[in-house]
């Protein structure tokens, strides 16, 4: 019997996406250490990476980075296939859908701040819909919606500003991938 080796050919683009996803993963692990007043209210720092990747390398790369981060993040936190994982996933999928739409806005007028705000609202919408239809089918949830919306606006704006600041820095040239 001969040992068989499976060899996957990884292109430089794959390596680059993996590096970006690892960076996003680092931010989400960092963020898990920040105490939150309400489950679901958190800064979503890893989305800064998604925004930068979207601006520099397009939507497909951003989707890869975002979904890899959700998957690997859940493995690191130990909640793979637990409710928290599906909440992240639905949030990420809705955010990506919002980004797919908002990136067609004229770039002269709309920057990462707009994309970030739209993605943040989409994220919380996806999560709340999943919570409502799967975990807590109770209308009392409605009382929390304004709190989540406020958090989405604040953190969406801040993350967008950070991404915008990074993208405008002269020393942060895109990597040739």
């Amino acid at each position: 019997m001969t040992a068989s080796t499976i060899r996957l050919a990884a292109t430089p683009a794959d390596h680059h996406i993996a590096r970006m996803a690892a960076l996003a993963l680092g931010l989400s692990v960092l963020e898990a250490a920040i105490p939150s007043p309400l489950p679901g209210v958190k800064p979503g720092l890893s989305n800064i990476v998604t925004l930068i990747v979207l601006a520099r390398y397009g939507w497909r790369a951003a989707a890869w980075v975002s979904l890899l981060r959700v998957l690997a993040g859940s493995l690191l936190m130990g909640n793979f296939l637990a409710p928290g994982f599906f909440l992240s996933l639905s949030g990420a999928l809705c955010s990506l859908a919002a980004l797919a739409a908002s990136r067609h806005l004229p770039q002269r007028w709309f920057g990462p701040v707009t994309h970030s705000i739209f993605a943040a609202y989409a994220h919380i919408t996806g999560q709340l819909l999943l919570v409502y239809f799967w975990l807590i089918p109770h209308t009392g949830l409605l009382y929390l919606v304004p709190i989540f919306a406020t958090a989405a606006l604040v953190f969406g704006t801040v993350n967008g500003l950070i991404a915008s600041y990074y993208l405008n820095e002269p020393q942060t040239e895109p990597v040739k991938a």
Binding site: R108, G140, A149, L153, N168
Partner: protein, 124 residues
């Protein structure tokens, strides 16, 4: 560099839209729903459904005895109850649709209901 330089004109519109949307959500979710009926339950079954427009006192039988529910000035409360800790009595007046007061030991509850089902406005 100040952070304002990183915000493009359209971004201000997005922030403004976000503020308006959030304010609208807060007003609909927190101040909506004038109640018009009180649903009184006993042992998990609906005992009576009464309009809030008429002031009255209703006596509801439970395993421990009679609970008294008072309707007054479009509000409802449990005025007296044989339960030992009196949580539902101390909860006071219920004013908005969706509010509920429950006496677990005597298996009596009163819930305010009004307008349509609240989650019909659950759109983002």
């Amino acid at each position: 560099m100040s952070p304002v330089e990183h915000i493009k004109p359209g971004d201000w519109i997005s922030i403004l839209l976000g503020l308006l949307f959030t304010a609208w959500l807060a007003t609909t979710a927190w101040h909506g729903g004038a109640a018009d009926t009180a649903i009184i339950r006993s042992g998990g079954k609906i005992f009576r459904e009464v309009p809030l427009s008429r002031d009255q006192i209703i006596e509801v039988p439970g395993p421990l005895g009679l609970s008294q529910i008072a309707i007054h000035n479009r509000q409802a409360r449990i005025a007296a109850d044989p339960s030992p800790r009196q949580y539902c009595v101390r909860q006071g007046w219920l004013k908005q649709s969706g509010e509920i007061s429950i006496c677990l030991p005597n298996q009596v509850s009163v819930e305010l209901n009004g307008g349509g089902k609240r989650y019909d406005s659950l759109n983002y």
